[in-house]
Subunit: 332 residues, 2 copies
């Protein structure tokens, strides 16, 4: 197969100047119709494709964006990644993705590396917004949006997130409406913003209804289903009087369900469970977990759209907080 790789060779082949070829290729109006057609034909015939690295250097635009996530194998983030990629590729952008495994060194390396590559923007879910990562983010001089993390007051970075607090309130209100008064909480890591917001919703709603909360009704799980089982066990052992639990995410909720099933504790009769996230697996017959849904794929799309707006300097660069939805199934 014939292939020509530079505009120079193409120009030579056509016996015209490089500038004319370039103009024809870029749809400039001031090119003779015949010339343009000749160029286009030659492009076809010789399989010429412009080198976009060279183009990027001139235009100072790479049409790539960076996507930094803690773990693409986490179904939460993989759905988001689908939304991001879809929106971006539809707009001619490509996505460089980095898994940080929640390691701040990897976060830093990924950021440096994409900055060197001159990405046009970046969508990030930093693990924890500590002082160091805040200062790193502040130094970022390119368009950026935060995914699933609120901007600390001092920073002016737009974000896409879900109303964790409001969602938690919905969950607890639902439990209360079912007659529960003694409700436990299964949290994620205590340094997690998300978890803390959901905890706050739990606490406030309980108090609003004058229901008792206590430290022993609150347990911390981790990032796995298994950790949810352990946390449920710990909670149940210490507070066997609770009749319902709010799991701060579905993975933990499913873990709780698993342990309850093992112990033959009936759900929802003996123990009601409500989750948060609405993962695909939560709707399986084996779980049918009542949960608070957040639109994951849409979050990815919105983040990409917001970033695009910032890149194109359009109006409306405001953060977006999405509403959650109660999905009632069989566990409460």
């Amino acid at each position: 197969m014939l292939t020509i790789t530079t505009i120079k060779d193409l120009a030579k082949y056509l016996n015209i100047s490089v500038s004319t070829v370039s103009r024809a290729l870029n749809n400039h109006h001031d090119v003779n119709q015949t010339t343009r057609e000749n160029v286009l034909q030659a492009v076809e015939k010789l399989n010429y494709r412009p080198n976009s690295v060279a183009r990027s250097l001139i235009h100072k635009k790479t049409y790539t964006i960076g996507l930094m996530v803690p773990d693409i194998a986490d179904p939460f983030f993989s759905s988001i990644a689908v939304g991001v990629e879809q929106t971006l590729s539809n707009n001619g952008y490509q996505v460089i993705y980095g898994n940080t495994s929640r390691d701040s060194l990897k976060e830093k390396q990924f950021l440096e590396s994409i900055l060197d590559r001159k990405v046009d923007g970046v969508i990030l879910t930093p693990n924890i917004l500590d002082q160091e990562s805040i200062s790193t983010l502040e130094k970022l001089e390119i368009p950026r949006v935060l995914l699933r993390r609120r901007t600390p007051a001092l920073l002016d970075i737009p974000f896409i997130d879900v109303d964790h607090y409001g969602g938690a309130c919905k969950a607890i209100n639902h439990l209360i409406s079912k007659g529960h008064t003694n409700i436990g909480f299964l949290g994620m890591a205590s340094d997690s913003f998300t978890s803390n917001e959901r905890l706050r919703g739990y606490l406030d709603t309980m108090k609003k209804h004058q229901l008792k909360v206590s430290a022993r009704n609150q347990k911390t799980a981790g990032r796995t289903i298994e950790s949810g089982s352990f946390a449920m066990e710990a909670l149940y052992r210490e507070s066997p009087d609770i009749t319902a639990v709010f799991a701060s995410n579905d993975l933990i909720g499913i873990g709780a369900l698993e342990w309850l099933k093992m112990e033959q504790i009936n759900v929802p009769e003996q123990m009601a469970v409500i989750g948060f996230d609405n993962l695909e697996m939560s709707e399986l017959y084996s779980f049918q977990l009542t949960t608070i849904a957040q639109p994951r794929k849409q979050m990815g799309q919105l983040a990409a759209e917001l970033l695009l707006r910032i890149i194109n300097e359009e109006e409306n660069k405001d953060s977006i907080i999405l509403e959650t939805n109660l999905i009632e199934r069989k566990t409460c």
Copy 2:
């Protein structure tokens, strides 16, 4: 914060030539020790970082690779993506990922787009190797490896895959060793190479043991758990005499389990089930699916390593077929 963005400005600041700065930056030995230190200090002070787009243009090397997957939200591919990203980023490469949604137009667009961007290599899982995609692949003149797809004889592209046929044989042998003689098969789409290989293992092993196979003992599911439930139902309705089923992947197997649970058909007493993949969720207490494990993350790593070997023109660019592992749990 002071920031200087070009080597030219840096040279001006230091009152030396651009070439010397470049040499100092790139650790050439023929630079005066003091000069080098001055440069490095200035780099630090002025936060200078070389533009890697410009570097790429000269070196004809971008240190990026393309990863094309059907669907990153499929747990199978997200695990692979983790392995790929990890290995590649450890070697200074970044990964541009594309979700094709099994759409051949998107496959084509993604490939064109990364080729224009001059990626150094590409790891692909094309959906179906039909004539057109084969010809597209043949035209690919950069290092490439196929993931989870065998190269058709006519093509000389290395691949990483698992021994689907052998794994299926293991599955059926296991079922037979448990005394089953009437075994059904739940397949994926009939144009799927993977599914057909697993079917072949089923068929051959059945025949080897002189066991009867028939079209009505074979049903086709889709890509979802739900489709597995439907296929299980169809199979059971038509062939209620079977005592075991080989689900060609875990998603289908879990779907089958779900339907059996709904119908209160005991597993494994009334119906044994074995899957293929060993997804994380298969080990949950609610499923405990016996299955054939394939090392997903490792496949990603191996694919990345193989690609790196090809890029660096090292020895040993052979395809790798990985062995599977029987994971015995509670469903047969």
